[in-house]
């Protein structure tokens, strides 16, 4: 039986009878709106519960329970209901094989995992490797993740991961966890004795209500506890109601999911217009596109407000920003050339990016986390990252358009007029990208100079930004020199995006070295390699077709405005 329950003198008989099932008519809202101090940030318990349940179970809920209900159930009835329940997600087959877990299942019970001697051995090796500063193998990384999953679970059960008791000394001081209610630590809580007493009583009635599945008394007693924590205990050191509910709203709305759904609709209707030329589908497509773009922007804005900074520091955030930028530039070029193939192509990129961001929390971590010291309160950081990533957006647009052009080379080969036009849009996107990337790389130098005293330090991230810039510069110079015409320009532009991919993804996820280490992650390499392979195959196929139809030299396309 949890120590917390013992302390609060809840009888063990009630605990034994409690079930982990869904509590009917329980109002969880009051609880989810309380604040918790977690990983350096104050957030609503709602966010904590969602992140925790996702991290431990890989799902956004369990057995019909919403995340906060699951977390509460772990806290209260872990030893009776959860210990032997297979709910901890382990899906990495090589590790499962190594630690002799059932290969057909992805879920295992905490007891099963913590009893595994093989797992312990891998972890011991991992610790030793870590001490020697050696890189961990994938298996060891996953083993460490299991350890972290179990550790977080244990933290919840023991109460010390639940820092929900405010520190009256200040909002940014260390908060107190529920574990402080146990034994001797209670005296360390900086509350007056009456409040401490009331905290115990209120908590006890809430727990009893839960254990007895008594919705009425739960709904009646929870607000008391919430008010006590929010007002009496905090002495005003508590996040505002509006900031907490904004984050809850953001969690609930899931703006990036909503916007990719809208982008899908926009793409579909615009595609119909491309085929049928029906005006109505163009208008409808535009409407979907603008609403998707709006929701996308709104989500971005919400995230800025919640984090208190521009979201520019991890892969998830940059994907959100780059997809948005790509659509933004497509709108510009669309406005200039009035061809709706431009936003159609851009929406594909937005869909791919946002679907990935929405569905791969292990690779693209959506949780909001505090910044590394070197990134704090820095104007130049924000400017240089936003500028560079915006250039990625422009290049991504040129990539999407490039693939449309390649598709035309492959399937509508005689359509040189159209190819000529679309290549010009690509060229414009590359121009936007080159200016932004050149400026952004230099601004990065300014920031590095400002932060580290080095304008340029041959750090892999900056080297790859430069490499990507050089690739596009080679394309531009190749075009001036007459080496790259028509097809060559399109193919080279599309291939140059691999430089962007390396600077954006590769440095952080593949090379994993350098000073920009705060954005490091892992995963997705297989898929990215697969994309690169397909892209090259696609270019070769289009090239072969072009030669076959138009003879040596390919289609005569002279697309560019003279300058």
């Amino acid at each position: 039986v949890t120590k917390l329950l013992l302390l609060l003198a809840v009888t063990s008989a009630t605990v034994l009878n409690a079930t982990p099932s869904v509590r009917k008519d329980f109002n969880w809202q009051e609880l989810s709106r309380l604040a918790i101090q977690d990983r350096g940030r104050l957030k609503p318990i709602d966010t904590f519960a969602r992140e925790t349940v996702l991290f431990i179970t890989g799902k956004s809920g369990w057995a019909g329970m919403i995340p906060i209900e699951v977390v509460f159930s772990w806290l209260v009835t872990f030893e009776n209901n959860w210990e032997n329940e297979p709910f901890v997600r382990v899906d990495y087959s090589p590790l499962k094989k190594l630690i002799k877990l059932d290969p057909t299942s992805n879920y295992f019970s905490p007891v099963e995992l913590s009893k595994s001697d093989e797992l312990k051995k891998i972890l011991r090796d991992a610790v030793e490797k870590d001490n020697r500063k050696e890189k961990l193998s994938d298996i060891e990384k996953k083993a460490v993740q299991i350890q972290n999953q179990l550790g977080l679970l244990e933290g919840i059960v023991r109460g010390d991961a639940l820092s929900i008791l405010p520190n009256p000394a200040g909002i940014n001081q260390n908060w107190y966890s529920l574990a402080y209610l146990i034994d001797s630590s209670q005296g360390q809580l900086p509350y007056i004795p009456e409040d401490r007493e009331k905290l115990a009583t209120d908590l006890k009635s809430v727990l009893n209500a839960y254990l007895n599945s008594d919705a009425a008394s739960w709904n009646a007693s929870l607000p008391n506890l919430a008010t006590l924590i929010r007002t009496s205990l905090s002495h005003g050191s508590y996040p505002t109601e509006s900031s907490l509910s904004r984050e809850i709203q953001y969690n609930k709305l899931r703006p990036f999911r909503l916007s990719w759904i809208l982008y899908v609709l926009a793409f579909a209707t615009l595609l119909i217009f491309q085929v049928t030329k029906a005006r109505v589908s163009q208008y409808l497509g535009a409407a979907f596109l603008f609403s998707a773009f709006g929701v996308h922007a709104y989500g971005f804005f919400m995230r800025c407000m919640i984090a208190g900074r521009p979201p520019v520091t991890n892969m998830f955030e940059s994907v959100i920003w780059v997809t948005w930028g790509c659509v933004l530039f497509s709108l510009f070029i669309w406005a200039a050339y009035k061809n709706s193939v431009i936003p159609t192509a851009a929406s594909v990129f937005a869909i791919v990016g946002l679907v990935l961001a929405d569905n791969l929390p292990a690779v693209l971590d959506p949780s909001i986390q505090p910044l590394e010291p070197v990134l704090r309160s820095n104007f130049w950081l924000t400017i240089h990252v936003l500028t560079i990533t915006l250039s990625y957006a422009a290049f991504a647009l040129s990539l999407c358009l490039g693939n449309v052009v390649l598709g035309n080379y492959l399937f509508r080969t005689s359509n040189t007029q159209w190819i000529q036009q679309a290549s010009l849009y690509m060229y414009r996107a590359v121009q936007i990208g080159v200016v932004l990337l050149a400026a952004g790389t230099i601004l990065g130098g300014v920031w590095a100079d400002y932060s580290w005293g080095r304008f340029w330090g041959w750090d892999p991230k900056e080297v790859w930004a430069l490499t990507a810039l050089l690739l596009y510069l080679a394309v531009l110079h190749g075009r001036y020199s007459g080496w790259l015409r028509g097809f060559g320009f399109v193919a080279a532009t599309v291939m140059s995006f691999l430089g962007v991919l390396m600077a954006w993804y590769g440095v952080n996820f593949v090379l994993g070295v350098g000073l920009h280490s705060y954005g490091f992650g892992s995963g997705g390499l297989v898929w990215v390699s697969l994309y690169i392979g397909l892209q090259i195959a696609f270019i070769l196929a289009a090239y072969a077709k072009n030669l076959r139809v138009h003879g040596p030299g390919g289609a005569k396309v002279s697309i560019f405005p003279k300058n």
Binding site: Q37, D38, R39, G40, R41, L42, L123, R124, V127, N131, R132, K133, E134, K135, S163, N172, Q173, N174, W175, P370, P373, V374, R376, S377, N378, V434, V435, A438, I442, G445, D449, Y450, S451, W452, G453, R454, F455, W456, W458, P460, V463, W464, L466, T467, L470, L471, A474, H477, G478, Y480, S481, W483, G499, M502, V510, L511, G512, V513, G514, N563
Partner: protein
């Protein structure tokens, strides 16, 4: 001929080729960096002459491309501006590379310093008075390199050859029986095992008197030397307690000086002998400690104490006999193998050996080696002690609960039970007095780490006598050792090159803020004072992340810090002097303006404006 060369250098095709080759080189360099670390990328690519050459080729290309189009047409405005910008940036970078300074300045809290650690490595030779004889740059390589890296000749065809460079080294501890009497501390190789684990580790210290402690899995291991039969008796008593090891003597707070002379050994508390002549029993000799240096470093060819942090404790000692013969010795607690006598001219020294057993924390091997499964559990204690006559090794087991589980004499190679957690222990080897050597061991491949490895060297010393076996010595970065060259002690020191600033920085206080509720660093801040004695400046400043201090053309950035239990914090500043800075900024602005003009201004904008003006006038 010259014209066609000019055309070649100005050609667009050369531009495309040089841009693409630069891109390819850069891509390769980043991959090398991920495999071998940042320094290697510098050694293999960025720092090489051919890389500078490639940039130079690009610059020539850019310059010629702009020159060949002269006189410029108005629509080429953007193109010319852009190329100008690139040239200015390249020139600025060249100035930085040739004239700039880029290094680190670590300062211990409450001390001042002006010694900037640079990136290049040097090997220095010092005579017995710590005067620099000569310094040699050490060429780096990306992987371990054997062969003659440096050859240093001494009179009588004696020479020292640096024949291995180890770019990434971890120190391997090598423990062996002390070759010299009176030098070394007891050492024991212990194995701990139960059904779940088996661990083996050397337990060895630098100081025979104070017990050395180490955590090994679930146990705390200690080893010490017993000096008297009382200590021996107390160690072997079955009553609870920690044994005699903990007794601390206030007057002994600086440590003990071990004096060996004429087959005798005396232990003198340093505090008592400090600036006092003490006579050595049964002899006419007298000894006095002139100076206690907690953190001895060589500065301006003199040994001084860098601060009161006992990081490298040393004593300067005077020794005299009744005839008035006077000897000066310097003895280091951490480097007992150093010869202590200054200016020895052979034959006439007084034949006294010193050994300094400092009470301060020395650079021990592992002090904390917490393995996950045991975190939070109370540990049992397994103590070893060497008998006063150095003939026996005793053990003493204290359970986690505090009771004595057993005492007795150790039998080498025999497993004995500790009586807790089913753990057995076995002593494989032990030495009453052992010396440790740190031997650099090559780490072939790194990835994903910060790459902060030390470098190492192997030196071979060929004596003048051809028949004598050459002596091999290992040197890890930031270490020194003494070698006997032609009968005189020469200290060889290996490490990063240093640059002395003309002023000093005093670190008042280093503070680290954390994210609320975590121990994750959020802010770093150093309160410093610039002490410029030449110009009589005493300037108080605060250096924090992104807020550098600028003084005398140098920038000081908060780069990192070192915090260790029981030591004052060290703040590390990145020191930077960059005469090319303004050029790089200027070039950057010019280049971006050029690109904007080129891409976004109507190409014939100026033609139109200026053309119209012509018409109107």
């Amino acid at each position: 001929m010259l014209n066609s060369l000019f055309k070649f250098f100005a050609s667009l095709k050369l531009a495309v080729i040089s841009i693409l080759s630069l891109a390819a080189v850069l891509a390769t360099a980043t991959i090398l960096e991920s495999m071998y670390g940042m320094r290697s990328a510098h050694v293999l690519v960025y720092g090489t002459w051919w890389f500078t050459g490639l940039l130079f080729l690009l610059g020539t290309n850019v310059l010629c491309a702009a020159m060949i189009r002269y006189p410029w047409k108005r629509h080429q405005t953007g193109f010319v501006i852009t190329h100008c910008g690139i040239l200015i940036i390249l020139f600025g970078s060249l100035m930085t590379q040739k004239l700039g300074v880029d290094g680190n300045l670590p300062i211990v809290e409450q001390t001042e310093d002006n010694e900037v650690v640079m990136n290049d490595l040097v090997l220095g030779f010092y005579d017995q008075n710590n005067n620099l004889i000569k310094e040699y740059p050490v060429r780096e390589s990306a992987t371990q390199k054997d062969g003659i890296i440096l050859e240093l000749d001494f009179p009588n065809s004696e020479k020292i050859v640096v024949d291995r460079f180890i770019p990434r080294a971890v120190a391997e501890r090598n423990v062996e029986n002390s070759p010299l009497p009176g030098v070394g501390a007891p050492a024991v190789e212990v194995e701990l095992a139960n059904q779940r684990f088996r661990m083996k580790e050397w337990l060895a210290g630098n100081r025979p008197g104070t017990p050395t402690e180490m955590n090994l899995g679930p146990a705390v291991l200690t080893i010490q030397k017993l000096w008297s039969s009382e200590e021996e008796k107390s160690f072997l008593s079955k009553t609870a307690g920690e044994g005699p090891a903990r007794a601390k003597n206030k007057t002994n707070s600086l440590g003990t000086l071990l004096v060996s002379y004429r087959g005798l050994e005396v232990r003198l508390p340093v505090a008592e002998a400090l600036k006092h002549w003490k006579s050595l029993a049964n002899s006419e000799l007298e000894v006095s400690v002139d100076e206690y240096l907690p953190f001895a470093i060589v500065q301006n060819n003199h040994l001084v104490s860098k601060s009161n942090v006992p990081a490298n404790p040393a004593l300067q000692i005077s020794l005299r006999d009744s005839t008035g013969k006077l000897e000066k010795h310097t003895v280091f607690a951490n480097f007992p193998e150093f010869k202590t006598l200054h200016g020895a001219t052979g034959g006439n020294n007084l034949g006294v050996k010193f050994r300094f057993l400092a009470n301060a924390p020395g650079p021990e091997g592992k002090s904390e080696n917490e393995s996950l499964p045991f975190v939070g559990k109370k540990r049992g204690r397994l103590s070893f002690a060497v008998s006063p006559d150095d003939k026996k090794l005793y053990y003493r087991v204290i359970a986690a609960s505090g009771g004595v589980n057993g005492v007795g004499e150790v039998e080498v190679g025999k497993e004995q039970s500790t009586g807790w957690m089913d753990i057995r222990f076995k002593v494989n080897k032990w030495f009453p007095a052992a010396v440790q050597e740190e031997r650099p061991h090559y780490v072939e491949y790194i990835s994903g780490t910060d790459g902060n490895f030390l470098t190492g060297l192997r030196l071979t010393h060929y004596a003048n006598n051809a028949g004598e076996k050459p002596e091999t010595a290992w040197l890890l970065e930031n270490r020194a050792r003494t070698m006997n060259v032609g009968g005189t002690p020469v200290t060889v020191a290996f490490g990063k090159n240093r640059l002395m600033l003309p002023f000093k920085i005093f670190l008042q206080k280093f503070t680290m803020g954390t994210d609320p509720g975590t121990s994750k660093a959020a802010t770093y801040e150093s309160d410093v004072t610039v002490r410029d004695r030449v110009n009589g400046v005493d300037k108080v400043a605060k250096i924090s992340m992104n807020e550098p201090l600028k003084y005398g053309g140098y920038y000081f950035y908060q780069a990192s810090y070192q915090m260790e239990e029981g030591r004052p914090p060290v703040s590390v500043f990145s020191v930077n002097y960059d005469p090319g800075r303004w050029l790089k900024y200027l070039g950057a602005i010019v280049m971006v303006l050029g690109i904007l003009t080129m891409f976004y201004m109507n190409p014939h904008y100026w033609d139109k404006i200026l053309g119209k003006k012509k018409v109107s006038t």
